[in-house]
């Protein structure tokens, strides 16, 4: 019956191990040395099962390899390709005209920074308040509808959001502008923040709210400064993940924030962003631009990963962890 010792690992923890050991102590163990014994116990179908199991496990390891290789490959490739272009110029210079060497993505880095911070300033409070509303006042019919709406907003492909923001803001104001880009990014950020906030607030035990209210503290104070404050680490996790997400969005910016080869020139003007610049450079035929694209990719990935790691640490630190 035995597959070469069913060694429980990973998923089945210490209790599983002791359990199996207990069983093993009670039953005589077929050993590799006891050949006759084994042969007598293992029928043909058992041998088959054993091999199927071995093969299956091997196959699973292969699949893991298959999943991990390209992903890590991409990462290593980007680092390799990107590092040669990484210098001070890349971060501070403006792009040079085609055919001239040098220049950098200063415009795009500043532009991305502005788009993202503007979106965060508006979107984070909005998203958190939405989350609070969903979790704390969820009994009303409005809240049920709201949850539906937010889910739908978050399922809209980003290109469609770009299309909408163009039709709404750009055509209306007659300007490609940082505002239009912000508007598009907002539609992506707000649902993410709202839903994570809601999920995390749901984990706060009811008695904390009751205790606060019982002291006669107004409900809004209880909500904001007791309930929400208690889980601010978790909320920040959602916020940072959302910011990391909008940091890398290209599709909604192509026809809203557009692009600008000069530095930031006002919120009413076209604004460059790292992902859009990356896209433009990637599909171009110019070698220098390719190099810049790789370096841009490295910087972008670096920022996004750093944000992710920060959110992880915050989440670990935050007191309300599940289980």
């Amino acid at each position: 019956m035995d597959d070469k010792a069913p060694r429980p690992s990973g998923g089945s923890g210490p209790s599983g191990t002791t359990f199996v050991r207990m069983i093993r102590k009670q039953t005589p163990q077929p050993r590799w040395g006891g050949r006759r014994y084994t042969r007598a116990r293992l029928s043909l179908s058992d041998v088959k099962r054993r091999w199927v199991s071995r093969f299956g496990v091997f196959f699973l390891y292969c699949l893991t390899f298959l999943a991990v290789t390209p992903l890590l490959g991409i990462f290593i490739y980007i680092v390799n390709k990107g590092i040669p272009g990484l210098n001070r110029d890349f971060f501070v210079s403006l792009p040079k005209p085609v055919g001239e060497t040098g220049g950098g993505m200063g415009n795009a880095i500043v532009g991305s920074g502005i788009l993202v911070s503007l979106t965060s300033i508006i979107g984070v409070p909005w998203g958190i308040l939405l989350g609070v509303y969903l979790s704390e006042y969820a009994s009303s019919r409005l809240a049920r509808w709201l949850r539906q709406c937010i889910d739908q907003l978050s399922s809209i492909p980003s290109i469609v959001i770009g299309l909408f923001a163009y039709a709404m803001i750009v055509v209306w104001t007659k300007h490609f502008s940082a505002w239009a880009g912000t508007f598009a990014l907002l539609i992506i950020l707000v649902p993410i923040v709202a839903r994570t906030t809601e999920e995390i607030l749901k984990l706060v035990p009811q008695h904390i709210r009751e205790a606060g209210l019982a002291l006669g503290i107004p409900r809004w104070n209880v909500t904001l400064f007791i309930v929400l404050k208690g889980v601010r680490g978790g909320v920040m996790t959602g916020v940072i993940l959302g910011i990391a997400r909008i940091m890398g969005e290209t599709a909604p910016l192509i026809f809203t924030a557009f692009n600008n080869q000069y530095g930031f020139s006002g919120l009413n003007q076209p604004t460059a962003s790292l992902p859009v610049q990356l896209y433009t450079y990637a599909i171009s035929p110019f070698e220098e631009w390719h190099q810049q694209a790789w370096t841009g990719a490295l910087v972008l990935v670096g920022i996004v990963l750093a944000l992710n790691v920060i959110s992880r640490i915050l989440f670990k630190k935050s007191e309300v962890r599940r289980d």
Binding site: L129, S155, M168, F255
Partner: protein, 313 residues
């Protein structure tokens, strides 16, 4: 005096609730506005082409003939390909990471893969153009063409970019998504279930199959559908490697076009009203389809969570 305070307290509450409600209504109005706006903009296309829009594969800006079929086909085929590759790979490796691999390795790899889910799609596209496409053109496609060329799916010239490349790139992009969710699903399965299978004499693989995979089918399904949703809406990476050609071609080597990529390519540049409306209509179609997929996935995942939730998650 006391009444004064009380009044103040309630005012704060009312104000707060007002602000919250305003936020909520703003979000809902935004969605409503979006739907109405998209509908309004694409209405001319639906009016002119009617049902033909959904059954014609003709996309001819010169003669103002527009049909969405080739893009729907492109989206469906590239996403299906991606799923076909990504689901076995990511479910298998999730299984391996949760059940077989040493705990430390599993934790590190799991963390890394979750990080990779956050890499922006334009970066995947960049890699696709410069690494994947040449690889496909020089090695993979000639190989497939040589040995499987008799199947129409693998016939035709090796462009490098095309449906197959897009499918593979999408697969790589959605693997982290599916893998992480599958891991969560497997973690949620009670330990006793595995022990029971082992105790009954199941081999290691049989344990995995019977106790773990079989009882989390609906969760895995949900994970796959969420992956599918990401593949569906994906724009930039696909635009960069799919070849951008409105055509329903049997061969997977042939270039294609998806709903998202046609909007990215043509929306800023369409000059006639009907072309614009048609692109808007493509957007509406994409909107509806992804909404459908997402709500299905969400329903399934939440149902399986409720069932598996007994384990404490």
């Amino acid at each position: 005096m006391s009444t004064l305070w009380q009044k103040d307290i309630h005012r704060g509450d009312r104000l707060f609730q007002f602000v919250l409600r305003a936020c909520a209504i703003a979000a809902m109005v935004l969605l409503l506005f979006m739907v109405v706006n998209l509908g309004y903009r694409s209405w001319p296309a639906f009016k002119v082409f009617g049902l033909k829009f959904f059954v014609s594969s003709d996309w001819d800006p010169v003669n103002d003939q527009f049909g969405v079929v080739s893009f729907v086909y492109g989206t469906l085929v590239s996403s299906a390909l991606a799923l076909l590759i990504a689901v076995p790979v990511s479910v298998g490796s999730a299984l391996c990471l949760t059940e077989l691999a040493p705990r430390r390795i599993s934790a590190v790899l799991g963390f890394l893969i979750e990080m990779l889910a956050a890499i922006p799609s334009v970066v995947y596209g960049l890699w696709g153009i410069f690494v994947l496409a040449p690889l496909m053109r020089e090695t993979v496609q000639p190989f497939l063409g040589k040995y499987l060329g008799w199947i129409p799916l693998f016939s035709g010239p090796a462009y490098g970019v095309g449906m197959l490349t897009a499918g593979i790139l999408l697969a790589i992009m959605i693997i982290p998504t599916i893998l992480s969710i599958s891991r969560e699903v497997f973690f949620a399965i009670p330990r006793a279930q595995r022990e029971a299978a082992l105790a009954l004499g199941a081999t290691r693989f049989e344990t995995l199959w019977i106790a773990v995979v079989k009882s989390s089918v609906s969760g895995l399904f949900g994970a796959s559908v969420l992956g599918l949703a990401r593949a569906f809406g994906e724009t930039m990476a696909v635009t960069m490697v799919i070849g951008n050609r409105a055509e329903v071609a049997v061969s997977l080597f042939a270039p294609g076009q998806t709903m998202a990529s046609v909007i990215a390519n043509e929306y800023a540049e369409a000059t006639t009203d009907i072309h614009l409306a048609a692109l808007g209509a493509v957007g509406v179609t994409l909107f509806l389809v992804s909404w459908l997929i997402n709500s299905t996935a969400r329903a399934i995942v939440s149902r399986s969570e409720r069932r598996g939730g007994a384990g404490g998650r």
